[in-house]
Symmetry: none
Subunit: 409 residues, 2 copies
Amino acid sequence: MKLLFIVMDGLGDRPIPDLGGKTPLEYANTPNLDKIASLGMNGLLHVIAPGVTPGSDTAHLALFGVDPYEYYTGRGPFEAAGVGLEVKEGDIAFRANFATISDNGVITDRRAGRIKTGTEELSKLLEGIEIDGIKFLLKAGTEHRAALVLRGEGLTDKVYGNDPKVEGKEPPIFKPLDESSEAQKTARVLTTYVMKVRDILSKAEINDKRVQEGLFAANFLLIRGAGKVPKVPNFEEEYCLESACVAGGGLYKGIARMLGMDIIEDERLTGGTDTNLEAKFEVTLENLKNYDFVFAHVKGTDNFSHDGDYMAKAHFIEKVDKELYRFLPVNFDQELVIMITGDHSSPCSFKDHSADPVPIVIYSSDCRRDEVDKFGESYAVKGSLGHVVGKHIMGIALNEMRLVHKFGS
Amino acid sequence: MKLLFIVMDGLGDRPIPDLGGKTPLEYANTPNLDKIASLGMNGLLHVIAPGVTPGSDTAHLALFGVDPYEYYTGRGPFEAAGVGLEVKEGDIAFRANFATISDNGVITDRRAGRIKTGTEELSKLLEGIEIDGIKFLLKAGTEHRAALVLRGEGLTDKVYGNDPKVEGKEPPIFKPLDESSEAQKTARVLTTYVMKVRDILSKAEINDKRVQEGLFAANFLLIRGAGKVPKVPNFEEEYCLESACVAGGGLYKGIARMLGMDIIEDERLTGGTDTNLEAKFEVTLENLKNYDFVFAHVKGTDNFSHDGDYMAKAHFIEKVDKELYRFLPVNFDQELVIMITGDHSSPCSFKDHSADPVPIVIYSSDCRRDEVDKFGESYAVKGSLGHVVGKHIMGIALNEMRLVHKFGS
């Protein structure tokens, strides 16, 4: 038996007067989601706890059964894993920006003019840097983004970064956040590192070319979001499931990678609103052949929520729905358990995450169906799952897979 | 955006055959509560946890998001804060009664004939008493009631009081509850204190007059309910809300004061069944202008429950309902979030608190309304809040206020 777990980012919403008091999900025409709802068990999911507004990072940990209060140390480690850096327990990970610094040491652009290409080559120039026995591993992400990992003895994440947050200022020095020798050392090696970085990048050909073209040179690194890489539980071992992640966004791939899932790389999978949904679910279907568990993440719902564009959110949900026919019992020739939900609500009226619960449906061929026959926030109130919290859903899904781990005898 | 939190003490009840199988709340004619229910999200509240019967003190801590298992040390500290004593962390606080002791040392009336006036003057005679470096702060409450605070080094709340519980007996000596030197010291200074108290009060003019009038002299103090004043979280800081309490009963004011809320004093606000409800909700309305959060407490519902008088309870609920028109969206000209519930159930058939959940409604202008259109125990079953616990409701209400504190990023 297989488990398909589809997460639509920021799926949950609130009643919108222009949509006749319906949420975007309720307003959208979603015959496939409704079919799954009518065959499955429905409920409302509090991803972390009732009244708690999740971040995307803490939410996904909770969805996979990992307690964010215990394991979340900051976004750096997950972003680093997401760009493909092999992070190890104890590494100190940061988010980084390629930025532009002037000759007199002032940050003139925090994103190097939102540089589109060339950061991978620039990262290569910075390979192999080692200071006081500490290895510096940098990897470029999309546009100006990058992740930095420090590996070695005597480090800590109790250090504040060098991002002035505004342009026209000098970058602040790395500040130790406590009195420990680890914090002193981490701040010191980072200071030396960015001096070296500036020196190397300012001599890079790519930057000469950018300056000639009137573009901002990517001649500096702004570093923030320190987090010590935690030892998270291994998802595959925990649940005895060969697991794969089909996602575009770096954060989601990063969390999945840290939990031990295989990351399915396909350039058609982007984390945006223009992602190729047909490809995403085709890849998902393909991988259900070889894996017991496939996590498919769709980001667009959240992007439209942050814009407050409820009509576009509804239409995007319809596009997702259209691709789900593949997994309906009539079309899928194996026993499949399906779990569909969001990682949090993002009401278009908030333009941000909220603590409202998200509808969830869990389907298996002999589950305890309820009277709910549409997928939506208000319909889910009558579902047989009731109100559930994130940490319990993997257990409920495993039960549908008949992968029962009896507690006691 | 403002938050109005109305607590009707002991609101929840059980079906009563004489009321056609309805609860007093369901039986009562409550158009305003029903309107709020129909516009809001309904559910059933387990104030502490399912199956746990709350006291009034622990219940209110839980309603304000303070874990009573961590912070509740006994009723004394909250009663002391309620009568207006400035309690400090580490103080040992007690509830006290003015009582009558005969010349041969027997308690003849545990409440000094339910003395109505004069206890404030008597308390003044006891000001400034200090024994072995311990300060004794006494403050009179309503009728025979008072609160006592011991302040100084080497004290503990592990001491049993001097209340014989019945009349016609000598007061027992203060008993240390463990072998510690603190318990010995606390019992010793209390013993010395009540001897002094008896000496001073027996010479008081007020008591001479009372005896001449054939009344019981208030010439002794019975002391019970020891509790060490805990360091509770500051509600205003925790939630970033300027907060006010509109209540009559000392306990509720005491809890609110300890949590850092402003106490609105108005002599029309009593904690009884004859309280001026019009004044209470007029004062509440006034204070919603200057505060982000107003807690309005109504005690009468619980009083009638303890008498088992379900018809009076229903009528009292109707009187409360009549005053709530002020807060309906059509009459209130600001964005208002309304949360209405009880601190526990007090079924008239129990004549005491019970663990039955209490109906709760949370309203905001764009909340996820449900199909519930009446406020009541059995109606709330179908609500979109489902079953909630006390520690989560402030988070849910803050979410309605869009005061979102994201956990993670």
